[in-house]
Symmetry: C2
Protein backbone atom coordinates (compact mmCIF):
# COMPACT_ATOMS: atom_id res chain seq x y z
CA UNK A 1 0.00 0.00 0.00
CA UNK A 2 1.25 3.45 -0.88
CA UNK A 3 1.92 5.31 2.35
CA UNK A 4 0.08 8.37 0.98
CA UNK A 5 -3.17 6.47 1.39
CA UNK A 6 -2.56 6.64 5.14
CA UNK A 7 -3.07 10.40 4.92
CA UNK A 8 -6.73 9.50 4.22
CA UNK A 9 -7.02 6.54 6.56
CA UNK A 10 -5.33 7.90 9.68
CA UNK A 11 -5.95 10.98 11.75
CA UNK A 12 -3.45 12.61 14.08
CA UNK A 13 -4.79 10.81 17.13
CA UNK A 14 -4.69 7.38 15.54
CA UNK A 15 -1.17 7.95 14.25
CA UNK A 16 -0.04 9.12 17.70
CA UNK A 17 -1.63 6.02 19.25
CA UNK A 18 0.76 3.90 17.19
CA UNK A 19 3.86 5.73 18.42
CA UNK A 20 5.89 4.64 21.44
CA UNK A 21 7.29 7.92 22.70
CA UNK A 22 10.86 7.08 23.59
CA UNK A 23 13.18 8.89 26.00
CA UNK A 24 16.24 6.75 26.58
CA UNK A 25 19.27 8.97 26.03
CA UNK A 26 21.81 8.03 28.69
CA UNK A 27 22.32 11.61 29.89
CA UNK A 28 18.60 12.29 30.38
CA UNK A 29 17.58 14.29 33.44
CA UNK A 30 14.29 14.52 35.33
CA UNK A 31 13.52 17.64 33.27
CA UNK A 32 13.81 15.52 30.13
CA UNK A 33 11.46 13.01 31.74
CA UNK A 34 8.93 15.72 32.60
CA UNK A 35 9.03 17.08 29.06
CA UNK A 36 8.48 13.59 27.66
CA UNK A 37 5.50 13.04 29.96
CA UNK A 38 4.01 16.35 28.86
CA UNK A 39 4.45 15.39 25.19
CA UNK A 40 2.98 11.96 25.83
CA UNK A 41 -0.14 13.57 27.28
CA UNK A 42 -0.45 16.27 24.63
CA UNK A 43 -0.26 13.91 21.66
CA UNK A 44 -1.75 10.73 23.10
CA UNK A 45 1.10 8.40 22.25
CA UNK A 46 0.80 4.64 22.76
CA UNK A 47 3.16 4.66 25.70
CA UNK A 48 6.24 6.31 27.11
CA UNK A 49 9.36 4.14 26.76
CA UNK A 50 11.85 4.69 29.58
CA UNK A 51 14.82 3.26 31.43
CA UNK A 52 14.02 1.18 34.53
CA UNK A 53 14.92 4.10 36.81
CA UNK A 54 12.82 6.66 34.95
CA UNK A 55 9.98 4.15 34.68
CA UNK A 56 9.88 3.75 38.46
CA UNK A 57 10.02 7.51 38.98
CA UNK A 58 7.30 8.15 36.40
CA UNK A 59 4.99 5.52 37.88
CA UNK A 60 5.16 7.26 41.24
CA UNK A 61 4.78 10.80 39.96
CA UNK A 62 2.53 10.56 36.91
CA UNK A 63 -0.26 8.07 37.47
CA UNK A 64 -1.94 8.64 34.10
CA UNK A 65 0.98 7.55 31.95
CA UNK A 66 1.25 4.16 30.24
CA UNK A 67 4.85 3.19 30.85
CA UNK A 68 7.06 0.90 28.81
CA UNK A 69 10.41 0.01 30.36
CA UNK A 70 13.46 -1.45 28.68
CA UNK A 71 15.28 -4.59 29.76
CA UNK A 72 18.80 -5.72 28.78
CA UNK A 73 19.03 -2.52 26.80
CA UNK A 74 20.63 -1.93 24.35
CA UNK A 75 22.95 -4.93 23.89
CA UNK A 76 21.01 -7.82 25.40
CA UNK A 77 23.72 -8.30 28.03
CA UNK A 78 21.79 -10.05 30.76
CA UNK A 79 20.70 -13.51 31.83
CA UNK A 80 17.22 -15.06 31.84
CA UNK A 81 17.09 -14.91 35.63
CA UNK A 82 18.30 -11.31 35.88
CA UNK A 83 15.92 -10.18 33.14
CA UNK A 84 12.98 -11.90 34.74
CA UNK A 85 13.86 -10.35 38.11
CA UNK A 86 13.99 -6.87 36.59
CA UNK A 87 10.77 -7.52 34.68
CA UNK A 88 8.94 -8.55 37.86
CA UNK A 89 10.13 -5.47 39.74
CA UNK A 90 8.96 -3.19 36.95
CA UNK A 91 5.64 -4.98 36.47
CA UNK A 92 4.88 -4.90 40.19
CA UNK A 93 5.49 -1.17 40.09
CA UNK A 94 2.97 -0.81 37.27
CA UNK A 95 4.85 -0.96 33.98
CA UNK A 96 2.45 -1.97 31.16
CA UNK A 97 4.93 -2.87 28.43
CA UNK A 98 8.47 -4.22 28.35
CA UNK A 99 10.92 -3.73 25.48
CA UNK A 100 13.75 -6.21 25.87
CA UNK A 101 16.77 -6.85 23.70
CA UNK A 102 17.34 -10.50 22.85
CA UNK A 103 20.69 -11.91 23.96
CA UNK A 104 22.66 -10.90 20.87
CA UNK A 105 25.78 -12.86 21.80
CA UNK A 106 23.77 -16.02 22.45
CA UNK A 107 22.05 -15.54 19.10
CA UNK A 108 25.32 -15.02 17.25
CA UNK A 109 26.62 -18.16 18.94
CA UNK A 110 23.67 -20.11 17.54
CA UNK A 111 22.45 -20.79 21.07
CA UNK A 112 18.80 -20.26 20.18
CA UNK A 113 17.60 -22.16 23.23
CA UNK A 114 19.26 -19.58 25.45
CA UNK A 115 17.81 -16.67 23.46
CA UNK A 116 14.35 -18.18 23.77
CA UNK A 117 14.82 -18.91 27.47
CA UNK A 118 15.62 -15.24 28.09
CA UNK A 119 12.54 -14.05 26.24
CA UNK A 120 10.28 -16.65 27.79
CA UNK A 121 11.47 -15.69 31.27
CA UNK A 122 10.22 -12.15 30.70
CA UNK A 123 7.04 -13.25 28.91
CA UNK A 124 6.13 -15.48 31.85
CA UNK A 125 6.45 -12.57 34.27
CA UNK A 126 4.44 -10.30 31.97
CA UNK A 127 1.60 -12.78 31.54
CA UNK A 128 0.10 -12.46 34.99
CA UNK A 129 0.16 -8.68 34.69
CA UNK A 130 -1.40 -8.62 31.22
CA UNK A 131 1.64 -6.68 30.05
CA UNK A 132 3.04 -6.60 26.53
CA UNK A 133 6.52 -7.82 25.67
CA UNK A 134 8.40 -6.51 22.64
CA UNK A 135 11.69 -8.09 21.69
CA UNK A 136 14.36 -6.15 19.85
CA UNK A 137 16.29 -8.34 17.46
CA UNK A 138 18.61 -5.51 16.32
CA UNK A 139 18.20 -5.97 12.58
CA UNK A 140 21.26 -3.85 11.79
CA UNK A 141 23.48 -6.65 13.08
CA UNK A 142 21.67 -9.50 11.30
CA UNK A 143 21.42 -10.79 7.76
CA UNK A 144 18.00 -11.68 6.38
CA UNK A 145 18.29 -15.33 7.34
CA UNK A 146 19.14 -14.29 10.90
CA UNK A 147 16.23 -11.80 11.00
CA UNK A 148 13.87 -14.61 10.03
CA UNK A 149 15.31 -16.98 12.63
CA UNK A 150 15.22 -14.31 15.35
CA UNK A 151 11.61 -13.41 14.54
CA UNK A 152 10.62 -17.07 14.79
CA UNK A 153 12.29 -17.38 18.18
CA UNK A 154 10.50 -14.28 19.46
CA UNK A 155 7.13 -15.62 18.37
CA UNK A 156 7.81 -19.12 19.68
CA UNK A 157 8.77 -17.63 23.04
CA UNK A 158 5.34 -16.02 23.24
CA UNK A 159 6.28 -12.34 22.97
CA UNK A 160 3.80 -9.88 21.50
CA UNK A 161 6.01 -7.84 19.23
CA UNK A 162 9.15 -8.24 17.18
CA UNK A 163 10.96 -4.91 17.25
CA UNK A 164 13.67 -3.92 14.80
CA UNK A 165 16.35 -1.80 16.53
CA UNK A 166 17.41 -0.14 19.74
CA UNK A 167 18.54 2.97 17.91
CA UNK A 168 21.85 2.83 19.78
CA UNK A 169 23.82 0.29 17.74
CA UNK A 170 23.70 1.88 14.30
CA UNK A 171 20.71 -0.09 13.01
CA UNK A 172 17.79 1.67 11.35
CA UNK A 173 14.20 0.61 10.73
CA UNK A 174 13.78 -0.23 7.06
CA UNK A 175 10.74 -1.06 4.96
CA UNK A 176 12.49 -4.23 3.84
CA UNK A 177 12.99 -5.45 7.40
CA UNK A 178 9.46 -4.62 8.56
CA UNK A 179 7.98 -6.46 5.57
CA UNK A 180 10.32 -9.40 6.13
CA UNK A 181 9.47 -9.70 9.82
CA UNK A 182 5.77 -9.30 9.08
CA UNK A 183 5.96 -12.14 6.54
CA UNK A 184 7.47 -14.37 9.23
CA UNK A 185 5.25 -13.54 12.18
CA UNK A 186 1.94 -13.09 10.34
CA UNK A 187 -0.84 -12.76 12.88
CA UNK A 188 1.10 -14.42 15.68
CA UNK A 189 2.87 -11.23 16.69
CA UNK A 190 2.96 -7.56 15.89
CA UNK A 191 5.84 -5.53 14.52
CA UNK A 192 7.42 -2.46 16.04
CA UNK A 193 9.64 -0.40 13.76
CA UNK A 194 12.31 1.59 15.55
CA UNK A 195 15.71 3.07 14.91
CA UNK A 196 16.29 6.33 13.06
CA UNK A 197 12.62 7.14 12.38
CA UNK A 198 12.57 10.94 12.31
CA UNK A 199 9.91 12.03 9.83
CA UNK A 200 6.25 11.42 9.06
CA UNK A 201 6.75 10.01 5.57
CA UNK A 202 9.10 7.35 6.94
CA UNK A 203 6.79 6.47 9.80
CA UNK A 204 3.86 6.13 7.39
CA UNK A 205 5.89 4.04 4.94
CA UNK A 206 6.87 1.69 7.76
CA UNK A 207 3.24 1.41 8.87
CA UNK A 208 2.28 0.65 5.27
CA UNK A 209 4.91 -2.08 5.25
CA UNK A 210 3.31 -3.74 8.27
CA UNK A 211 4.48 -1.93 11.40
CA UNK A 212 1.89 -1.82 14.19
CA UNK A 213 3.98 0.49 16.33
CA UNK A 214 6.63 3.10 15.67
CA UNK A 215 9.33 3.67 18.26
CA UNK A 216 10.90 7.12 18.11
CA UNK A 217 12.07 10.02 20.23
CA UNK A 218 10.69 12.48 17.68
CA UNK A 219 7.00 11.58 17.90
CA UNK A 220 5.87 15.20 18.30
CA UNK A 221 7.61 16.26 15.09
CA UNK A 222 6.23 13.26 13.23
CA UNK A 223 2.67 14.12 14.24
CA UNK A 224 3.19 17.79 13.32
CA UNK A 225 4.59 16.78 9.94
CA UNK A 226 1.66 14.43 9.43
CA UNK A 227 -0.69 17.37 10.03
CA UNK A 228 1.09 19.40 7.34
CA UNK A 229 1.04 16.49 4.90
CA UNK A 230 -2.70 16.07 5.40
CA UNK A 231 -3.26 19.80 4.89
CA UNK A 232 -1.12 19.84 1.76
CA UNK A 233 -2.57 16.79 0.05
CA UNK B 1 55.51 12.00 35.02
CA UNK B 2 56.37 12.03 31.34
CA UNK B 3 54.95 8.88 29.76
CA UNK B 4 58.25 8.26 27.97
CA UNK B 5 59.76 7.29 31.31
CA UNK B 6 57.43 4.28 31.26
CA UNK B 7 59.42 2.96 28.32
CA UNK B 8 62.20 2.41 30.88
CA UNK B 9 60.06 1.35 33.80
CA UNK B 10 57.71 -1.11 32.12
CA UNK B 11 58.32 -4.17 30.03
CA UNK B 12 55.85 -5.75 27.62
CA UNK B 13 54.58 -8.24 30.18
CA UNK B 14 53.97 -5.65 32.88
CA UNK B 15 52.19 -3.36 30.41
CA UNK B 16 49.99 -6.24 29.24
CA UNK B 17 49.19 -7.11 32.85
CA UNK B 18 47.60 -3.66 33.20
CA UNK B 19 45.34 -4.12 30.17
CA UNK B 20 41.81 -5.51 30.39
CA UNK B 21 41.39 -7.18 27.00
CA UNK B 22 37.88 -6.23 25.98
CA UNK B 23 35.59 -7.99 23.52
CA UNK B 24 32.12 -6.53 23.80
CA UNK B 25 30.98 -5.64 20.30
CA UNK B 26 27.31 -6.57 20.08
CA UNK B 27 27.71 -8.64 16.90
CA UNK B 28 30.55 -10.75 18.31
CA UNK B 29 30.54 -14.46 17.50
CA UNK B 30 32.16 -17.45 19.19
CA UNK B 31 35.03 -17.10 16.72
CA UNK B 32 35.60 -13.57 18.03
CA UNK B 33 35.57 -14.98 21.53
CA UNK B 34 38.10 -17.67 20.65
CA UNK B 35 40.39 -15.10 19.04
CA UNK B 36 40.15 -12.90 22.14
CA UNK B 37 41.01 -15.84 24.40
CA UNK B 38 44.01 -16.65 22.22
CA UNK B 39 45.20 -13.03 22.41
CA UNK B 40 44.63 -12.95 26.15
CA UNK B 41 46.88 -15.99 26.56
CA UNK B 42 49.55 -14.81 24.14
CA UNK B 43 50.01 -11.38 25.72
CA UNK B 44 49.15 -12.07 29.34
CA UNK B 45 46.51 -9.40 29.76
CA UNK B 46 44.99 -8.65 33.16
CA UNK B 47 41.67 -10.21 32.24
CA UNK B 48 39.27 -10.77 29.41
CA UNK B 49 36.21 -8.48 29.59
CA UNK B 50 33.09 -10.08 28.16
CA UNK B 51 29.30 -9.99 28.06
CA UNK B 52 27.50 -12.21 30.56
CA UNK B 53 26.79 -14.80 27.87
CA UNK B 54 30.35 -14.96 26.59
CA UNK B 55 31.67 -14.97 30.15
CA UNK B 56 29.64 -18.08 30.96
CA UNK B 57 30.75 -19.79 27.76
CA UNK B 58 34.39 -18.88 28.33
CA UNK B 59 34.34 -20.12 31.92
CA UNK B 60 33.17 -23.52 30.73
CA UNK B 61 35.51 -23.84 27.77
CA UNK B 62 38.69 -22.06 28.80
CA UNK B 63 39.53 -22.73 32.42
CA UNK B 64 42.79 -20.76 32.44
CA UNK B 65 41.24 -17.39 31.60
CA UNK B 66 40.59 -14.64 34.15
CA UNK B 67 37.15 -13.39 33.19
CA UNK B 68 35.63 -9.99 33.76
CA UNK B 69 31.92 -9.69 32.96
CA UNK B 70 29.90 -6.52 32.45
CA UNK B 71 26.71 -5.62 34.29
CA UNK B 72 24.11 -3.01 33.33
CA UNK B 73 26.22 -2.36 30.28
CA UNK B 74 26.50 0.15 28.67
CA UNK B 75 23.79 2.49 29.98
CA UNK B 76 23.35 1.48 33.61
CA UNK B 77 19.74 0.49 32.89
CA UNK B 78 19.09 -2.00 35.67
CA UNK B 79 18.01 -2.11 39.30
CA UNK B 80 20.03 -2.95 42.40
CA UNK B 81 18.23 -6.28 42.76
CA UNK B 82 18.60 -7.28 39.11
CA UNK B 83 22.28 -6.29 39.07
CA UNK B 84 23.01 -8.22 42.23
CA UNK B 85 21.20 -11.27 40.83
CA UNK B 86 23.27 -11.14 37.64
CA UNK B 87 26.45 -10.57 39.65
CA UNK B 88 25.77 -13.62 41.81
CA UNK B 89 25.12 -15.83 38.78
CA UNK B 90 28.37 -14.72 37.16
CA UNK B 91 30.42 -15.00 40.34
CA UNK B 92 29.10 -18.49 41.07
CA UNK B 93 30.17 -19.47 37.56
CA UNK B 94 33.69 -18.21 38.26
CA UNK B 95 33.90 -14.60 37.06
CA UNK B 96 36.78 -12.81 38.84
CA UNK B 97 35.95 -9.20 38.02
CA UNK B 98 32.76 -7.26 37.33
CA UNK B 99 32.58 -4.02 35.34
CA UNK B 100 29.26 -2.37 36.02
CA UNK B 101 27.83 0.91 34.76
CA UNK B 102 26.41 3.13 37.48
CA UNK B 103 22.73 4.00 37.07
CA UNK B 104 23.22 7.05 34.87
CA UNK B 105 19.59 8.19 35.02
CA UNK B 106 19.53 7.95 38.79
CA UNK B 107 22.76 9.94 38.92
CA UNK B 108 21.45 12.62 36.58
CA UNK B 109 18.34 12.79 38.76
CA UNK B 110 20.52 13.51 41.79
CA UNK B 111 19.37 10.25 43.37
CA UNK B 112 22.80 9.40 44.71
CA UNK B 113 21.39 7.00 47.29
CA UNK B 114 20.01 4.85 44.48
CA UNK B 115 23.29 4.96 42.55
CA UNK B 116 25.16 3.86 45.64
CA UNK B 117 22.60 1.15 46.43
CA UNK B 118 23.12 -0.33 42.96
CA UNK B 119 26.88 -0.40 43.35
CA UNK B 120 26.77 -1.70 46.89
CA UNK B 121 24.45 -4.53 45.84
CA UNK B 122 27.09 -5.78 43.42
CA UNK B 123 30.00 -5.13 45.80
CA UNK B 124 28.28 -7.21 48.49
CA UNK B 125 27.95 -10.16 46.12
CA UNK B 126 31.55 -9.79 44.97
CA UNK B 127 32.96 -9.68 48.48
CA UNK B 128 32.44 -13.33 49.38
CA UNK B 129 34.05 -14.37 46.10
CA UNK B 130 37.05 -12.06 46.48
CA UNK B 131 36.11 -10.54 43.13
CA UNK B 132 36.91 -7.02 41.96
CA UNK B 133 34.21 -4.48 41.10
CA UNK B 134 34.88 -1.63 38.69
CA UNK B 135 32.25 1.03 38.23
CA UNK B 136 31.94 2.95 34.99
CA UNK B 137 30.84 6.53 35.59
CA UNK B 138 30.77 7.41 31.86
CA UNK B 139 32.84 10.59 32.05
CA UNK B 140 31.75 11.72 28.59
CA UNK B 141 28.29 12.49 29.96
CA UNK B 142 29.48 14.28 33.12
CA UNK B 143 30.98 17.65 33.95
CA UNK B 144 33.94 17.78 36.33
CA UNK B 145 31.77 18.36 39.37
CA UNK B 146 29.71 15.31 38.45
CA UNK B 147 32.83 13.21 37.84
CA UNK B 148 34.03 14.09 41.36
CA UNK B 149 30.66 13.27 42.90
CA UNK B 150 30.38 9.99 40.99
CA UNK B 151 33.88 8.94 42.00
CA UNK B 152 33.07 9.63 45.63
CA UNK B 153 29.93 7.51 45.42
CA UNK B 154 31.83 4.62 43.85
CA UNK B 155 34.44 4.69 46.60
CA UNK B 156 31.87 5.07 49.36
CA UNK B 157 29.99 2.07 47.98
CA UNK B 158 33.12 -0.02 48.39
CA UNK B 159 34.00 -0.70 44.76
CA UNK B 160 37.63 -1.30 43.82
CA UNK B 161 37.92 0.79 40.67
CA UNK B 162 36.44 3.92 39.15
CA UNK B 163 36.34 3.39 35.42
CA UNK B 164 35.95 6.20 32.89
CA UNK B 165 33.85 5.05 29.92
CA UNK B 166 32.05 2.15 28.30
CA UNK B 167 33.35 3.08 24.86
CA UNK B 168 29.81 2.84 23.49
CA UNK B 169 28.38 6.24 24.40
CA UNK B 170 30.86 8.57 22.75
CA UNK B 171 33.03 9.16 25.82
CA UNK B 172 36.80 8.81 25.65
CA UNK B 173 39.42 8.28 28.34
CA UNK B 174 41.31 11.53 28.87
CA UNK B 175 44.37 12.40 30.91
CA UNK B 176 42.37 15.15 32.58
CA UNK B 177 39.66 12.73 33.74
CA UNK B 178 42.08 10.09 34.98
CA UNK B 179 44.02 12.69 36.98
CA UNK B 180 40.79 14.17 38.33
CA UNK B 181 39.41 10.79 39.42
CA UNK B 182 42.77 9.82 40.93
CA UNK B 183 42.80 13.06 42.95
CA UNK B 184 39.39 12.16 44.36
CA UNK B 185 39.88 8.48 45.13
CA UNK B 186 43.52 8.58 46.25
CA UNK B 187 44.46 5.20 47.70
CA UNK B 188 40.89 4.18 48.41
CA UNK B 189 40.28 2.89 44.90
CA UNK B 190 42.09 2.32 41.64
CA UNK B 191 41.40 3.92 38.28
CA UNK B 192 40.63 2.17 35.02
CA UNK B 193 40.93 4.25 31.88
CA UNK B 194 38.77 3.08 29.00
CA UNK B 195 37.07 4.46 25.92
CA UNK B 196 38.89 5.11 22.65
CA UNK B 197 42.35 3.97 23.78
CA UNK B 198 43.92 2.68 20.59
CA UNK B 199 47.67 3.36 20.77
CA UNK B 200 50.61 2.75 23.08
CA UNK B 201 51.45 6.44 23.62
CA UNK B 202 47.92 7.13 24.83
CA UNK B 203 47.86 4.08 27.08
CA UNK B 204 51.18 5.11 28.62
CA UNK B 205 50.09 8.71 29.07
CA UNK B 206 46.95 7.52 30.89
CA UNK B 207 49.04 5.25 33.11
CA UNK B 208 51.32 8.20 33.85
CA UNK B 209 48.25 10.20 34.81
CA UNK B 210 47.25 7.60 37.38
CA UNK B 211 45.46 4.77 35.58
CA UNK B 212 46.04 1.35 37.14
CA UNK B 213 44.27 -0.47 34.33
CA UNK B 214 43.61 0.22 30.67
CA UNK B 215 40.44 -1.11 29.07
CA UNK B 216 40.69 -1.58 25.33
CA UNK B 217 39.86 -3.93 22.49
CA UNK B 218 43.19 -3.18 20.83
CA UNK B 219 45.53 -4.49 23.52
CA UNK B 220 47.61 -6.56 21.09
CA UNK B 221 48.35 -3.51 18.94
CA UNK B 222 49.19 -1.41 21.99
CA UNK B 223 51.71 -4.00 23.21
CA UNK B 224 53.24 -4.28 19.72
CA UNK B 225 53.52 -0.50 19.49
CA UNK B 226 55.09 -0.42 22.93
CA UNK B 227 57.74 -2.88 21.72
CA UNK B 228 58.56 -0.60 18.78
CA UNK B 229 58.71 2.47 21.01
CA UNK B 230 61.13 0.71 23.36
CA UNK B 231 63.27 -0.39 20.42
CA UNK B 232 63.30 3.08 18.92
CA UNK B 233 64.06 5.08 22.06
Amino acid sequence: MDWRLLLELLDERSLASMIDHTMLKPSATLEDLERAVEEYRRYGFACLALSPYHALVALKRFRDVRICAVIAFPMGFSSPRASSMLARELLEAGVAELDMVMDLHAFKAGDYARVKEGIRAVVEEAKSFGALVKVIIETGLLNDEEKIKASQIVVDAGAHFVKTCTGFLGGRATIHDVALIKSVVGDRAKVKASGGIRHAEDALALISAGADRIGTSTGPRIVEEFRELVKGR
